[in-house]
Amino acid sequence: MSQVPSVRERRTVGLLKRLRLSRAVVNVILGLVAVFWLVPTISLLVISLRPESLFGESGWWTVFTAPSQLTWGNYTTIFSQGFAAGGVLDSLTTSLEITIPVTILVALISSLAAYSLVFGSWRGRDWIFLVIVGLMVVPLQVALIPVVQLYREMGNLFGLNPYGTIPGVIIFHVAFGLPFGIFLMRNFLTGIPKDLLEAGRIEGAGEWKIFYSIVLPLALPAIASLAIFQFIWVWNDLLVALVFLGGNVHTPLTIFLYDQTRSLAANYWIVSTGAVVSIFVPLIVFFSFQRYFVRGVLAGAVK
């Protein structure tokens, strides 16, 4: 800072001093950014609340001068199909059937593995951990084809072929959720003092007892972060579901939306209404557990 500033620099400095960012200017700039960021979401909501016939006839923004356009019609139509296969509610159920087991399995298996990696006494734990961290960036595209074939082999050998079934999707998602899960849980568990476990051992508790009655309660914040992160990740997946459930009768919401896009202009009312339904669940999760979600994002920076 002690150097003599160049002419160009001095000029910039002068300009900036005159333009010194006041609080008001910052508020205006960020206000505009916020509006820009809200427009897509608002447009989706408005389109889903306008009659099908108005799409393509007038812009959704005309609703601000003619609020009478708003109607629940699209929602009553898609919900009136009930839980019949191929409908929105069926897809919503399928999304939950995939997401909830994956979230629970990843949280449980990761916690167990991290416990072992942190509190075990055998050598080579650090190396195993490094390999697992390395797996975090493996693109899941790399594993798709062999896993499809592996599933078929399972069908040949045991008569249980997970390909095309919800368990097939779950198995795949769990595998690709584990590296991050173990990474996050291990980092958290290393912060738990070993003396606490020691106290448990003195009282004669076994490893399992120590795991679920001492470590798990302490690790709840980390588990919450992991679970939310995993839930949203799987809820929003399209590729894995397409590969393993593509032709299925019951498909998750992402496939439901994707299928409608092929004739977007004709189906936009279904697409927008379905999209609102599909973002509703993660939004609730996000707003209820925002703090944990942000923690998960911070920890997941390397994913």
């Binding site: 800072m1 400095v13 900036l16 010194r20 960012l21 950014v33 916020a34 427009v39 897509p40 979401t41 989706l44 006839e57 007038s58 812009g59 923004w61 593995a113 072992s116 509190f119 075990g120 006494s121 055998w122 195993i128 490094l130 697992i132 961290v133 390395g134 960036v137 493996v138 693109p139 595209q141 790399v142 594993a143 798709l144 084809i145 062999p146 592996l150 198995i171 690709f176 584990l178 590296p179 173990i182 070993k194 399209l238 590729l239 919401l253 992402t254 939306l257 896009t261 977007l264 936009y268 697409v271 999209a275 599909s278 973002i279 993660p282 939004l283 996000f286 979600f293 942000v294 994002v297």
Partner: protein, 472 residues
């Protein structure tokens, strides 16, 4: 570790610890790890190795073909396009998302409604890319009644040049001058001017042709009426000088011809300046009253033929080509499809919140004293940001940047959902070609596996960087 040694204080060397005693002490711990390890081996590690193997075999994974698939990768147009698009994504997206994340994170520290602002920016991360892509697909729609972007473009475009009643598509080679048939000729700047001069008290008749009957119908054009002379004024008529009953008559009005309504005219003096303006009525008549003595021409303004706004086809074929003097191959290599830009903007909308959260956490952890010291030393905000904040944030910025590079190498959902079928070819990426080659129309492992291995190799540097960061 200490816990176990208290139970077994006699353990001296690791070798002595192997065997039954070792198992007895560690089997529970290993059993805890086992489900995770087995799962990872079966669904991540083994398949990765299998894919590498498949990439050296033919499509049905039965015949060894050596490097043939890799050779095909670099000779298949679709995959080369994918490479090009991936390069565009990697060059543009991580930089902008990090930059915007930084700016927003720095500015957010100074507003009272930071919590609400952060929630707004972060929210799109929790939406599925599928849903976001669909939203943005309508935002960039060609039709200004659907797409906001084109609606804004249209408003701005109309502001500068409103479309005329008689739009002329210049791309078909039609010129304004070619419309003139009677007492009219092409004037300066795409106007039409009456051939003969006229004095106050006189009349002007101008005949045009090749006006579509649809246009005439929508404008409500009526039968032309010959103008009546008026004192100290100039009256006139502009009509569509084409009769189906008398096609060769181009000099006078025929009853099945039409006047040309809504034409914007101006009266031009002999010095070339416009002295008055008017608009034709439904039968093509017009008049200028109170005209000073002199000699005049009537001019049909160029704006009458201004073509209506045609939206930008963001999600279609157009692309930005930087240098037009290059040959075609170089041009196609350097051109950036508009749809890539539209998708990158959408993707920034999704991911800027991620960058903001990370950089914001980095900012919060910065040493305030250093920042204050810079301020006390007289550094202004820009200097503080450039010379102090950014260098101190470098590690976080790198994390964001690298994460976004990895993310964008695998970009898939947004292309599948935002690019309409016809644009998916030009917008494709490596991840999309793996899906298309490997899974649509049966499973073909050879080529798709080779692309997957290449994608994997591209990610490996990031993986090593991660390991180094975690170890060190």
């Amino acid at each position: 570790m200490t816990s176990i040694t208290t139970e077994e204080p006699n353990v001296t060397s690791p070798k002595a610890s192997r065997g039954r005693g070792w198992w007895r002490r560690n089997w529970v711990s290993l059993a805890f790890l086992a489900p995770g390890i087995i799962w990872l081996l079966a669904i991540v590690v083994y398949p990765t190795i299998a894919t590498i193997r498949f990439s050296f075999f033919d499509e049905s994974a039965t015949k060894f073909v050596g490097l043939h698939n890799y050779a095909s990768v670099f000779s298949t147009d679709e995959i080369l396009t994918a490479f090009k698009n991936n390069i565009i994504w990697v060059l543009v997206f991580p930089f902008f998302v990090t930059f915007i994340g930084l700016m927003v994170a720095v500015l957010t520290e100074r507003i009272r409604w930071a919590t609400a602002f952060k929630a707004i920016i972060v929210m799109p991360i929790v939406f599925s890319t599928t849903a976001s892509a669909l939203v943005w697909r309508t935002i960039f729609d060609l039709d200004p009644h659907i797409g906001v972007v084109n609606a804004i473009e249209q408003t701005v475009s109309d502001w500068f040049s409103a479309p005329g009643a008689y739009p002329l598509n210049s791309s078909t080679g039609e010129t304004v001058a070619s419309l003139a048939t009677f007492n009219a000729k092409g004037g300066p700047g795409g106007t039409l001017v009456s051939s003969s001069a006229v004095q106050p008290g006189g009349t002007v008749m101008m005949g045009l042709t090749r006006i579509s009957s649809v246009t005439l119908q929508t404008l409500g054009a009526k039968t032309p009426v010959a103008p009546h002379e008026m004192a100290a004024g100039i009256a006139g008529l502009v009509w569509n000088d084409f009769s189906t009953s008398q096609p060769s008559n181009t000099t006078s009005i025929v009853s099945d011809e039409h006047g040309l309504p809504n034409l914007r005219l101006s009266l031009v003096s002999s010095k070339g300046s416009s002295v008055a303006s008017t608009v034709t009525d439904a039968s093509g008549d017009f008049s200028f009253s109170h005209v000073a003595p002199g000699s005049y021409h009537v001019q049909i303004l160029a704006s009458n033929f201004q073509i209506a706004f045609v939206g930008t086809f963001w999600l279609g074929s157009p692309s930005l080509t930087p240098v037009s003097s290059l040959n075609q191959t170089a041009q196609s290599l350097l051109s950036v499809p508009l749809i890539d830009l539209a998708m990158i903007i959408s993707y920034i909308w999704i991911w800027a919140g991620f960058a903001m959260v990370l950089i914001g956490a980095g900012l919060a952890a910065l040493n305030r004293e250093v920042l204050e010291a810079a301020e006390i030393d007289g550094a202004n905000e820009w200097q503080t940001l450039r010379r102090v904040t950014i260098p101190m944030l470098a590690p976080v910025l790198t994390v964001v940047f690298v994460t976004m590079v990895i993310n964008v190498l695998k970009v898939f959902d947004i292309i599948l959902n935002m690019a309409p079928g016809s644009s998916q070819g030009p917008a494709t990426t490596l991840a999309l070609t793996i899906y298309n080659d490997g899974f649509t129309g049966g499973i073909h492992s050879g080529l798709a596996s080779a692309v997957a291995v290449i994608l994997f190799l591209l990610v490996v540097p990031a993986m090593l960087w991660n390991l180094k960061k975690i170890k060190g």
